[in-house]
Symmetry: C2
Subunit: 188 residues, 2 copies
Amino acid sequence: MPDQETARERVLEAAGELFYARGVQAVGMDAVRGGSGVSLKRLYQLFPSKEALVLAYLRQRDARWRRALAEHVDTRAAPEEKIVAVFDWLHRWFSEPGFRGCAFVNSFGELGATSAEVAEEARHHKQAFHDYLTGLVTASGRPAALADQLALLAEGAITTAAISGTPEPADRARDAARLLMDATARTV
Amino acid sequence: MPDQETARERVLEAAGELFYARGVQAVGMDAVRGGSGVSLKRLYQLFPSKEALVLAYLRQRDARWRRALAEHVDTRAAPEEKIVAVFDWLHRWFSEPGFRGCAFVNSFGELGATSAEVAEEARHHKQAFHDYLTGLVTASGRPAALADQLALLAEGAITTAAISGTPEPADRARDAARLLMDATARTV
DNA sequence: GCGGGTCGAGAACGACCGTTCTCGCAGTGC
DNA sequence: GCACTGCGAGAACGGTCGTTCTCGACCCGC
């Protein structure tokens, strides 16, 4: 508790788990206090409002999510394998206990209409993922338009896995991705 | 107001617009009263709780959404054209003012963790859409596995259009769907 | 040992929400 | 005319939430 930085980390850790598991509005600041062990007073010194905490939560989640994805993709060397690895990583993510879809999609649905900043954070996260895919696609010598299609497959897999409760959509998306890669390779 | 049935319709109409536009938790029963012109007392006679109203809202939206989609698809005769028409209809939907993504995905993100019935309603809606696509795909003489892939494209397009604020994802999904249809036609 | 500052625990505050209750009014059968 | 029933408007109730305040304990330099 004494260290300012570890208190901040504990708060973000607890808030991240609670917000993701139950939804932002269903989690009160008291629950964050209980989960982090950081008093309300310190909590409001670290984050001036719940909205600020929510934005910090989203930014942390964006950074972690993209880093985890990139680390897994980097275990493959060939450009085509890197693309396929994206969908393998999705499968692993979907299989994690407590998986409940994309935190940004959930937050957007919950708060996007009332908080322009939350909506902007969701846009930023999705744009970053799209840009990342574009890099992989162009590295494989294919046109960037393929990245649009792969992004839609990944996005659809995330939502479908969340609602259906199974990781299988990642496999179906990977099948479709392979077909699209083959089709695009031929047409170039 | 005198007729019980029209009061119910007004409530569902107002609740539908408010819940979809702002999210369920952001809309109080007072706002539904104001939007519908139906008194709080009658409102609670028609729906015993807010949760019941939310479920009725989702069920109405599911029926309307699927009917509107089927009506548009039925304007085409050829099986392949029907499949493509799904994505054209998505484009029209995304272009509507106030479009804010899939009501079921939004509600699932908001309430799915706390309300098993809301989660079930979302599953049912997505399953019905998937079954509908499977019917179109098999009618075109293609394997049902193609429907899985098309469903992911559509799902991804809905979410991406909502967050990005443009209807273009429908076009990209349609491009990918055409490629997958061609690829699948060849492999069968 | 002691004043000053810092902190945590929890009360307090104001707002809002879902739900129920009160009350006055209007219409109906007789 | 009159008791009765049903209705709408809005107050009321109990609970929760975000945020701030109080208060007592602890820790530091001196």
